[in-house]
């Protein structure tokens, strides 16, 4: 059974590119455009991994991450934070609240795919 990946971003063009990239690798994909939608999709879609943008309307990526980590049911969910703000403090903050990896935009598609695969245990 294919791994499930949830893409969360408010930029339509980024969503388009990520969706295409991950589908090509054979993952099952779902999309959310803001934080609240993301939480709802996690509950219904039950992804194995989540690509989570930080700067979003309604709920920021940090808030989403914190909310997910507060629920033990999501312990297995891998979270990769994506941010266009490259400051070190934000990387540290993201990791501190329970993100598994942190990727700055713009990212290399190859590296992102490699990282996602290794995190899911597909070598």
């Amino acid at each position: 059974m294919a791994h499930k990946i949830l893409i969360v971003d408010d930029e339509p063009n980024i969503v388009i590119s990520l969706e295409f990239l991950m589908k090509k690798e054979g993952f099952e994909i779902a999309v959310a455009n803001d934080g609240e939608e993301a939480l709802a999709k996690v509950a219904s879609f039950k992804p194995n991994l989540m690509l989570l943008d930080v700067m979003m309307p309604k709920k920021s990526g940090f808030e989403v991450c914190e909310a997910l980590r507060a629920d033990a049911a999501n312990a297995d969910l891998q979270i990769v934070m994506l941010t266009a703000k490259g400051r070190d403090t934000e990387v540290a903050k993201g990791l501190a609240i329970g993100a598994d990896a942190y990727v700055t935009k713009p990212f290399s598609t190859k590296e992102l795919v490699a990282k996602v695969k290794s995190m899911l245990g597909i070598a």
Binding site: D10, I14, I16, F20, K24, K105, K110
Partner: protein, 903 residues
């Protein structure tokens, strides 16, 4: 029927009551529970009202009408100068001053000469005044006995002498209980306050009796007086005597603080400076009350005794007696006795202190071997008691010798004029540091001589004791030297004449000599201590003004000799505690201790003698005048420095606060800049992310389907466009904010700008099916602006509007209007509208309104901030008026140029 013995018995009983009151006061003081309250203090000031007031005021009113009031108005006005009196009290407390002679002497370098001079003036001026009191008692006694037809006392028993002797005993008992004259005589003060009440009640009683029992109230009295041409003149003051009126007020104003007994009560006997607050109105109230019935009694007497022989000075007694009111007459007699005894007791204590400390002690210390005795405290008390006896005896002798002579009757004001001579030296000493010893001596001597020549000696001449040639024809027959018309200054009464000349000479000499001579070192220090008494809280200057060596043994010895062992040890113990040492044996032998010892001694023997004694047991270094002035100067400078320092530190504090605020602001700006850069980074990276991801996929997957390929390339192009626009706007914003933007200002027709902008966006509106309408006036004034920038604003507002209105049903309306001051452009739409919060937020950088998901690549979040910057640059405003669901009106104004700019 009043018998002489009965009256004498009554007097003795009254004196016994006085004794009891005084004993009670002393006992309470010893127990540490002083009965001297503010009220008692204020009442004791009424020792000012002697028998001269009690009997004499009515006498004066029968001849001078209302002019007797000046003697009481002056003190009222003087007492209101609370600051002056408070300073006198403070100086005296700090320097342990015990009399007015000591005050003046201490100020001018602890001068024995000045102390003696002031004492002599006081004794000469005041002893006859004491005699006058004895005479008043004698006269009242006589009136009482004569009217009631009683026998006189046996020839060998003189009632006045008896009274004088009783007074001497009383004064000795309560005036010399302690040696230290700064230790107050609380029992005596209590007795004086009691006497004040008695004499006031007695006088009010006779006043009410005469006015309402003998006559039919004030109205009738005044009516009847007005009917008689002789009495009518008493009801109206004589404006031609205006000078005398003012002079009397000045004279009595000075007397209230410079008469030795007044100085004693107001200054020396003051327990608490705050009592002055009560005295400042209660004492004048007392004066007012005791004077209300003076004129009515005078008129009543004149009306009652018309055509008979009478003595107006005894009206208060003879009027009740004439109606057979013997008990009232007795009360009045006791009241008069109160007035006389009160004055005699306090005056004698004050004078005896001065005589002992300022005349006898210096003489004994200098010319006899008495200074070597082991214990002098007993001797001091003996001297003081002898002085009391002597002064009373002098008074009695003068009374016997003068009899009815003018020199006695007129002595009240003559006495006032004598003590007025202290005024220049006293006031100058308190407020003028340059006033010095030589000036004070010259002024006092000059003033005193003039007083002697123009007032006292003429009064002797009038009494027939000496020839009156110098009054009638002038000394040596020189007309200009006529004693009461000096240098031809006539037309004045003798008191005003004397006051004018004596104060002129006194003040003139004091100032002139002070300005032309230099003080010595000691004096300069004292001047500082007196004038700046409120500022000298610390003892630093005091201790720096004395240098030398002393031994504890010798100082102790000296103090014990004058104060006695017990007292010395008690005082030293208290001083040691104040210095923070457990016992006085451990006190450091320094300037402070020497100063303390000298002050203690000054309380007992006066400052001048104390200085001599302390100097005799210590090896003092001579500090020259220059050095003293330097030290004082330095002290003044230190004070100035510390004031400056305080001001500086306040300034620094203010500056620090300011700096902190600025720093805070900078930090805020820094954070804003940081946020801005972070935001810009984010905004730039977002399109780059799509571009990079899509390009990489295109690059790596050559077999990608054509439709995807086309779609991705389209996204890449639009993201690139967005990126370019973003960079342009950021640069534009940065230029505007840093003020480096280029502006080409010219006259612009706003209508054209609007029309062009609408035309250029027509395509966009048509594509979305939005209706765009304009409402432009026929004419519109030109504004001064940059045409391209204005177009930029217009296009920004229009493209924002089209972005947010719904397709097909959307409407955008542009309206231009103008008044005399500005043009106003409104871009209205029927879009979703904005909340009040959003109305502000949208003008911040990178904050966009509405759902950005729909059309994200279009907006950068910089359009409105840039537009606002531009409009504000032209001096206008840009804002939005909107409510959710009701569309939005973006409004901006551009001001019209002023008339002078138009030319």
């Amino acid at each position: 029927m009043l018998s002489g013995w009965f009256i004498l018995f009554l007097s003795t009983v009254y004196m016994a009551i006085l004794f009891a009151v005084a004993r009670f006061g002393d006992a309470r003081a010893d127990a540490g529970k002083s009965i001297i309250s503010a009220n008692v203090y204020a009442l004791s000031l009424a020792v000012y009202c002697t028998s001269w007031t009690f009997y004499g005021s009515v006498g004066r009113a029968t001849s001078g009408g209302l002019s007797f009031l000046t003697i009481y108005i002056g003190p009222t006005l003087m007492l209101l100068m609370t600051g002056v009196i408070l300073k006198m009290i403070r100086i005296s407390k700090v320097n342990r001053i015990t009399s007015i002679a000591d005050f003046i002497a201490s100020r001018y370098g602890k001068s024995q000469l000045l102390a003696g001079l002031v004492t002599i003036i006081a004794v000469i001026g005041v002893v006859p005044y004491i005699a006058l009191q004895l005479k008043a008692v004698s006269a009242s006694l006589e009136a009482l006995l004569h009217e009631s037809g009683s026998d006189f006392l046996p020839w060998w028993l003189d009632s006045t002498f008896l009274i004088a002797a009783l007074l001497a005993v009383f004064t000795i008992l309560f005036g010399t209980r302690h040696l230290d004259a700064t230790e107050r005589h609380e029992g005596m003060v209590a007795a004086i306050a009691f006497e004040s009440v008695v004499k006031l009640l007695a006088f009010l009683a006779v006043g009410v009796f005469v006015t309402y029992s003998m006559f039919d109230g004030l109205g009738e009295l005044f009516q009847r007086a007005a009917a008689s041409p002789e009495l009518a003149r008493l009801l109206q003051t004589d404006a031609s005597r205006a000078g005398t009126w003012t002079a009397m007020i000045l004279l009595s104003g000075l007397a209230i603080i410079f008469l030795p007994r007044q100085f004693q009560i107001i200054v020396v006997e003051n327990v608490d400076e705050s009592h002055l607050k009560r005295a400042v109105w209660l004492f004048p109230l007392y004066l007012l009350l005791i004077n209300i019935f003076v004129l009515p009694i005078a008129l009543g007497g004149l009306l009652h005794f018309q055509g008979q022989p009478f003595n107006p000075d005894t009206f208060v007694l003879t009027l009740p007696l004439a109606r057979g009111a013997e008990m009232l007459a007795l009360l009045v007699f006791i009241g008069g006795l109160s007035a006389a005894t009160g004055m005699v007791i306090v005056e004698t204590i004050a004078l005896s202190t001065m005589v002992c400390n300022d005349l006898v002690m210096p003489w004994l210390l200098r010319y006899s071997r008495i200074g070597e005795r082991k214990d002098l405290s007993r001797l001091l008390i003996v001297i003081r008691r002898a002085a009391i006896t002597l002064i009373l005896l002098l008074g009695y002798v003068y009374f016997r010798a003068a009899g009815e002579a003018y020199a006695l009757v007129g002595i009240g004001l003559i006495s006032f004029a004598a003590v007025a001579q202290f005024a220049p030296a006293m006031f100058g000493g308190m407020y003028w540091k340059q006033g010095n010893h030589a000036g004070a001596v010259a002024g006092l001597l000059g003033g005193f001589s003039v007083w002697l020549y123009t007032l006292l000696l003429p009064s002797f001449a009038r009494s027939g004791w000496i020839g009156n040639g110098f009054v009638e024809n002038g000394l040596f027959g020189i007309a200009g030297l006529k004693a009461q018309a000096l240098f031809g200054l006539g037309g004045l009464d003798e008191i005003s004449h004397c006051l004018w000349w004596s104060l002129l000479v006194n003040l003139g000499l004091y100032i002139a000599v002070s300005l032309t001579t230099r003080p010595d070192a000691l004096e300069a220090g004292q001047a500082e201590r007196f004038v700046d008494v409120f500022r000298h809280s610390g003892r630093e200057t005091d201790t720096r003004l004395w240098r030398g060596r002393a031994s504890m043994e010798e100082l102790l010895n000296l103090l014990e000799r004058f104060l006695g062992k017990a007292r010395t040890h008690k005082q030293l113990g208290a001083y040691a505690r104040k210095r923070g040492t457990t016992s006085w044996q451990k006190l450091p032998i320094d300037a402070g201790l020497v100063h303390f010892a000298e002050a203690q001694l000054a309380g007992a023997i006066g400052s001048a003698s104390a200085r001599v004694m302390v100097a005799s047991v210590t090896q003092e270094e001579d500090i020259g005048l220059e050095e003293v002035l330097d030290i004082l100067d330095e002290a003044t400078q230190v004070r100035a420095y510390s004031r400056n320092l305080e001001a500086k530190s306040r300034e620094l504090e203010a500056a620090t606060t300011e700096l902190r605020a600025v720093n805070e602001r900078l930090r805020e700006l820094d954070k804003m800049k940081d946020d801005f850069i972070s935001t810009v980074t984010h905004e730039l990276r977002t399109p780059l992310t799509s571009i990079r991801a899509l390009s990489e996929m295109l690059h790596e997957d050559p077999r990608m389907e054509l439709s995807d390929r086309k779609r991705f390339l389209g996204i890449i192009v639009s993201e690139t466009v967005r990126l370019t626009r973003l960079i342009n706007q950021i640069l534009d914003m940065a230029k505007l904010e840093s003020g480096r933007a280029e502006w080409t200002t010219s006259e612009v027709d706003v209508r054209e700008v609007i029309r062009e902008s609408m035309d250029s966006l027509e395509q966009l509106f048509r594509e979305k099916g939005v209706m765009l309408t304009g409402e432009l006036p026929e004419t519109c004034p030109l504004v001064m602006a940059d045409r391209d920038r204005l177009t930029q604003v217009m296009i920004n507002l229009l493209s924002n509007a089209v972005k947010f209105v719904p397709g097909e049903t959307g409407k955008v309306h542009v309206r231009l209007s103008a008044d005399t001051e500005r043009v106003r452009i409104v871009v209205g739409d029927n879009g979703p509208g904005l909340t009040a919060d959003e109305c502000n937020v949208i003008f911040e950088k990178f904050r966009q309104g509405g759902n950005t998901m729909t059309d994200k690549p279009q907006g950068t979040g910089l359009g409105l901030p840039i537009s606002r910057q531009i409009v504000e640059y032209f001096g206008g405003n840009l804002w939005v008026e909107s409510e959710p669901g009701a569309g939005a009106n973006f409004i901006f104004t551009v001001p019209l140029p002023g008339p002078e700019e138009q030319q």
